[in-house]
Symmetry: C2
């Protein structure tokens, strides 16, 4: 599904430039459940943004479902993203002054899903993440963990074959975290969705089948997760 | 230092209103190191915002260093906050398009600290939190964990006697988390600063001396942390 070769990413120009990724190669097969770990600032979010077609690499190749995406235009990247990828940002990126339900409906609106089907699906996913009573709250009327769960629900809206989540449980208590990881595992095992999760928590990485570790913009380890 | 009696907080009006706090009473002595835990949506951030003089309670009393603050005006609350409290928000709240160093200098600017002293102190705190090489980066040029560390550095700028941090290590790997908690412990033991930390992680709560647990807007447990 994903084939990355010698991917680099440089931010800025000249002496103040930062090499966030220094040459990363990785293959992820369809249906895998992968965890990405590593110190703060090691390049995890940068890598996820590039895999998620949210930005261009500085060099190297990236093939998603056989298609080379590193050379696509912004609009072409958005087309690929809309159909293939559900993304949960580390900083949530919810639309303010917009209710939880509307935030979750948005990707379906772009995909041309009819109003009634959108509404029903948004309600059902928000219930699955434990927010049945907060559907009409706007982000500033929700707790940190509740906002995070809206961001997760939005990523699940289009039932994309690839789910990418950057620290999806960073603001959740252990009970809510187990609920979310159980949902991800169910999607992975029952619906065959490929899942890639960034986390600092070992107990979250343990839900995956394989753990890839970053350090200073490079992959330094790639091993099967001990089956929990 | 802190005496709270029957504190409530209601958001909104009428049928859609939410009772975030349903009557909380708590005393925190000067020099204590306290952890607040509890499920997502249980009222932890709401309680911290009220203790941090960022909002008014709906009812109940709150005395900080002997002064009743629940009836103060917004400007009076800002005066109390500027001198007495360092606050680390769950969502960082950094000023965008402003460098890490400038974000950390801001509370000192309000407090009237001279330019050279501000600059030297901002540099020294950013070094203490491991960001010596990112001082001139703006929030959108920093990773999630780096942004969190800038928010921590800003809260330490005015050496306030009360430090309040809402999930300060939620985006940090375990090594960075240990660095931050070691810094908090040092400030608590050496400088006598009172520290209140919200966390979902047991290993972070273990740094404190006392753990208070919230559930559905009420305190349901309050016990000494097992000394680590
Ligand atoms: N402005 C608001 N309007 C309406 N409801 C609100 C508002 N802010 C918070 N709430 C509600 O108040 C409750 C408490 O929120 P709070 O942010 O204090 O929770 P929390 O314990 O910090 O949770 P988390 O661990 O997810 O950060 C939640 O159920 C939330 O939906
Ligand atoms: N727009 C940018 N301009 C300059 N440097 C950047 C930019 N975005 C990120 N960086 C730098 O690139 C490096 C990698 O950042 P990235 O966000 O990928 O880290 P991360 O592994 O996700 O860290 P965390 O665990 O803290 O979220 C960091 O050192 C960061 O300072
Ligand atoms: Mg990150
Ligand atoms: Mg909170």
């Amino acid at each position: 599904l994903i084939e990355v070769k010698d991917m680099t990413k440089v931010y800025g120009e000249g002496p103040a430039s930062v090499q966030a990724l220094k040459g990363v190669s990785l293959t992820i097969r369809r249906g895998e459940f992968l965890a990405i770990m590593g110190p703060s600032g090691s390049g995890k979010s940068t890598f996820m943004h590039l895999l998620g077609c949210l930005d261009h690499p500085s060099s190297g190749s990236y093939r998603l479902a056989g298609q080379e995406v590193s050379g696509l235009t912004r609009d072409q990247l958005a087309m690929v993203r809309g159909r293939q990828i559900g993304f949960v940002f580390q900083s949530f990126n919810l639309l303010s002054r917009t209710s939880a339900r509307e935030n979750v409906e948005l990707p379906m609106l772009y995909a041309g899903v009819a109003r009634e089907a959108r509404d029903a699906r948004a309600r059902s996913i928000l219930e699955q993440v434990g927010l049945a009573e907060r559907m009409d709250h706007k982000p500033n009327e929700l707790s940190g963990g509740q906002q995070q769960r809206v961001a997760i629900a939005r990523a699940l809206a289009n039932e994309a074959p690839l789910l990418m989540a950057d620290e999806p449980t960073g603001n959740l208590d252990s009970a809510s975290s187990v609920e979310i990881m159980t949902l991800f595992q169910h999607l992975n095992r029952e619906n065959g969705i490929t899942v890639v999760v960034v986390t600092h928590a070992n107990e979250i990485a343990a839900w995956s089948g394989r753990i890839v570790t970053f350090r200073d913009g490079l992959i330094v380890d790639d091993r099967p997760a001990k089956e929990g």
